[in-house]
Subunit: 568 residues, 2 copies
């Protein structure tokens, strides 16, 4: 509100200024009739920009969006797929706006990104849902499993054809929906099947039609239980629901993300992001088991505060959140003060975080121990992979190709409170901010680790390492019923075993007053290279909800760490 | 020379100005050792820009180019594939420069565009060749043909693997080379096999290894002759050798185009292009049958003069040249002076030819008869497909969606002289300029029509129609030995048969003093909707070089035309 008032004082309403609130129907949008809302939103946002309107509202109803007449921009989106995107809500350089759906359903068709913010400030999204007419993934009911093949039945909402012997998922018009991996879900429990693993098949699977909407698909060594649902995961992450870049003060409240073709909310180089009552969940009555096709949320090189309260993150195809920085690999030493660096991971290409004024840490990739820091004076971007970086001071002798650099000029403080995370693939939350992190009063029911601390400079190139992490009053409910983890809370990293003794990559972790409901006596906390770890006042309850996997495991496995206090 | 002198007078050499000639080796380029020349060229071109150097030279030798550290830009290239491209020679906004290879061989690796000009002026390229370490297409020798399968042996230069049952062509590093169509060539005659047709297979063919470098590939109904070569055509046209956009006064002399991943020379919205002694041909001693993967040259919405003299265009995967404009489809009438238009064909997306000041013709797509003209006042580009166009005058009543518009503000004059065109897929030259066109003293030996006049506003959306075309003293040597045409010279268009009587799409054609060497008594000229056609003083010789296909065909088939004079 402070910002609204300040802005209002600077720019009093004039005859040129439209009403503070614009109604999207004034721009031609019509709910309920299947017409394309994209041009109306585009015109309305132009008018918001022109008149500095503060609010854009949608009368309650269903609004459809097609890519045909949408804005277009080439976007590099960390941890998703870059590309030339059509954008339904292009919020580029826009400030001080609330988009209020008033309960509206936004239904998208085909290859389009719902909401993209770039250099936006003080934007609130309120009370609407995002779904797709045809999802980017597909789901088949398991009829039978043979040797190296599986018989499936696809509901009508997942159209397909067998083309030259290969299974191809189709959609509206000529759209096709390539897949890259398979994962089995249990539709009764509404979660990944017990100990189900990923099948990374690539986009080409031989198939033959065996009945109406039924196919036999060749998958080497496939196992599955008839009656379960096999999800064909989307091959690419082209269209996150919310893409937030270089923006600040962004709030989502009362938003239901039923589906999208990528992450639910991806924020990069942005600050002060708040999600309140955001629900990532399959659309009610859709009959779908999967919600969105990748992580529910993801924050890369952000600052300020990241706050998520009263959110539900369920049935998405990857983690509920991942908060981290980015390492670039040093490829060449060019002069005493200049290095060439490379953004290594495909999903980091074009993610330009090395900018003049940014302070960098230098680490050896095997140890991740900071051995040098310097400030960026100037850069020359060769292309989306390579950048030449001039620093303010001479480079140390020990710098050599293969080392990595990451920004240390600021990290976000994080709060995750009263959220529920369940039924999704893989882990719960990945925490890699060096700001203050508070994880409290949440419920986790994840097939992998509920909370994971990672970071590495050789594969994912995600900078992590916490400094002040409190995990309290959470309920960990039958976690680790899948293959993605060895402990309910895991403090790991891509540090070579030979360097773990010297590293204290994570520091200041307090785990207290949590409830661990467990179906076996597996591991509760596994950690290494930590300084200052306290585990106290937690409770453990036994359940019989799943077949026990680990028996008489040591509940706490702490190695190469100092100042560890465990109260059993 | 006039331009050089004028510029020199304006900017006399000063201490800040480098020598008029720069040597690429001064920027780190080294020939013969396989090192990456890309960074040196990039630095040298920057220096050319800074110092206004007039000449960049390469000491004779082989120079290798990799994409890693190349410049990068998203390019829309008409009749090729758009995309984010790495560029070895980024000539963006550069003027008055000669790049002299002095006989150098430029060898490219992977996905990189050799030479891109945008808003460039007075640029000469001289004496170098362009080739690739691994071609974008692949060639297999036919061992045997079974029912719905073919056994092939691939030379080492076309590496492949069979991955999950599918044939995949590989290259350096992780590069793969998808294919989309197959075509049989006769290695003795060095041309497409007699009456061979395209197999549009798509990228996925089942295959199994049957020996060292030998595979059996499933292709429904394939026929071929053992000993012949089956070319797996590149699925996409990502990397033309020369991409010339919005540029003027561009000259290529003594350039050998041995390979590239797209067209050899594609010029769009440019003027005054000259090709002298340009050879499109497979690299000597390479053992390859195919040169480049698409048309040798192609000119879209160009003006000024297009001159090609003493060129060789052979063994490329498509026509030797195609010179035309572009139709956009009218999709909506928005107001009395505003229409929405769409670039329909995928290979025209982003080709923005409708700009303020451009005069447009309006045609019905079935007849292509111009019923209205107007000048563009302003445009709003929605995205690479759709543009809203405001005109200077009211739109006529008869305008309706499905009609098309094209520019009529200028066309190129064309000269093709002493060129040889042979051994390539499809046709010889496609002529669609309304300027003066002179085709003389050339040799054509093409499997399809040697000269084709086309144009349509429903499929390819290429604006054509000649006004002054002279075809004289050419030798047409055993043309039409393949499936791409019904006559040696064809004057067609995508005009509905019901509209051909009213249309005179092509006007002013003189065909004289040519020699037609023919292996049967097939058609020499087929034409419709022409005004002013003269055919005289041509000679016909019979050969026994191919099995006769057509006997006692009427040599001239002229319909719906006026002012036709044929001297037999």
């Amino acid at each position: 509100m402070a910002l609204f008032c300040a802005a209002a004082q600077q720019e009093p309403a004039t005859s040129l200024t439209a009403a503070a609130t614009l109604d999207v129907t004034a721009f031609g949008a019509r709910s309920g009739d299947g017409s394309d809302t994209t041009p109306a939103v585009r015109a309305a946002l132009e008018e918001c920009r022109r008149t500095k309107a503060r609010r854009l509202v949608f009368p309650t109803g269903r609004y459809d969006f097609w890519p045909d007449r949408a804005a277009e921009k080439y976007l590099y989106i960390s941890n998703n797929d870059e590309g030339l995107k059509r954008i339904a809500f292009p919020l580029l350089g826009i400030e001080d706006l609330e988009i209020d759906g008033q309960g509206a359903q936004f239904v998208f068709h085909g290859y389009i990104s719902p909401i993209v913010l770039e250099n936006a400030r003080n934007i609130t999204f309120k009370d609407f849902s995002i779904d797709w007419a045809r999802t980017f993934h597909s789901e088949g009911r398991v009829l039978a499993v043979g040797e190296d093949s599986i018989d499936l039945e696809f509901p009508e909402q997942f159209p397909f054809k067998v083309d030259r012997g290969l299974l191809v998922f189709t959609g509206e018009g000529k759209d096709v929906y390539p897949f890259g991996n398979l994962l089995e879900f249990n539709p009764e429990k509404r979660e990944t099947a017990f100990m189900a693993r990923d099948y990374y098949t690539g986009p080409n699977l031989l198939a033959s039609v065996i009945g109406p909407r039924r196919v036999r698909v060749s998958v080497p060594k496939i196992t599955a239980t008839p009656g379960n649902v096999l999800v064909f995961g989307a091959a690419r992450r082209l269209h996150p629901a919310f893409t937030i870049s270089d923006s600040a003060q962004i709030k989502l409240t009362g938003i239901n993300l039923y589906h999208c073709g990528g992450m639910g909310v991806i924020a990069q180089r942005s600050s002060d992001i708040e999600l309140d009552h955001v629900q990532v969940t399959p659309a009610p009555s859709s009959g779908r088991i999967l919600s969105i096709t990748a992580d529910a949320t993801h924050f890369v090189n952000c600052k300020g505060r990241i706050v998520m309260t009263d959110c539900l993150f369920e049935n998405q195809m990857d983690d509920a959140t991942n908060i981290h920085g980015t390492y670039a690999q040093v490829t060449r030493r060019l002069s005493s003060k200049e290095v060439e660096v490379k953004l290594f991971n495909l999903h980091q290409h074009g993610f330009d975080f090395i900018l003049p004024g940014v302070r960098l840490e230098f680490v050896h990739s095997a140890s991740l121990v900071t051995y040098h820091e310097a400030v960026v004076r100037s850069t020359t971007r060769l292309n989306k992979e390579f950048t030449r970086v001039v620093l303010d001071s001479p480079l140390p002798e020990e710098l050599s190709p293969g080392d990595a650099v990451a920004g240390v000029s600021g990290y976000p403080d994080v709060v995750l409170r009263r959220c529920t995370i369940r039924g999704n693939r893989a882990r719960g939350i990945l925490l890699g901010s060096r700001g203050k992190i508070l994880i409290e009063d949440n419920v986790f029911h994840t097939p992998g680790a509920a909370i994971l601390l990672e970071g590495d400079a050789r594969y994912w190139f995600e900078q992590a390492g916490v400094r002040d992490l409190v995990i309290r009053r959470n309920r960990f409910d039958n976690c680790n019923f899948g293959v993605w983890g060895e402990s309910i809370i895991e403090v790991g990293s891509g540090i070579d075993e030979s360097h773990r003794a010297e590293s204290r990559y994570n520091r200041g972790i307090l785990i207290e007053d949590n409830l661990f409901r467990m179906f076996d006596t597996g591991r509760i906390v596994r950690a290494y290279s930590v300084d200052d770890l306290s585990i106290r006042m937690n409770r453990v309850e036994s359940t019989a909800d799943y077949p026990p996997q680990n028996q008489n495991e040591e509940p706490f496995d702490i190695q190469f760490s100092s100042n560890v206090a465990i109260e059993r």
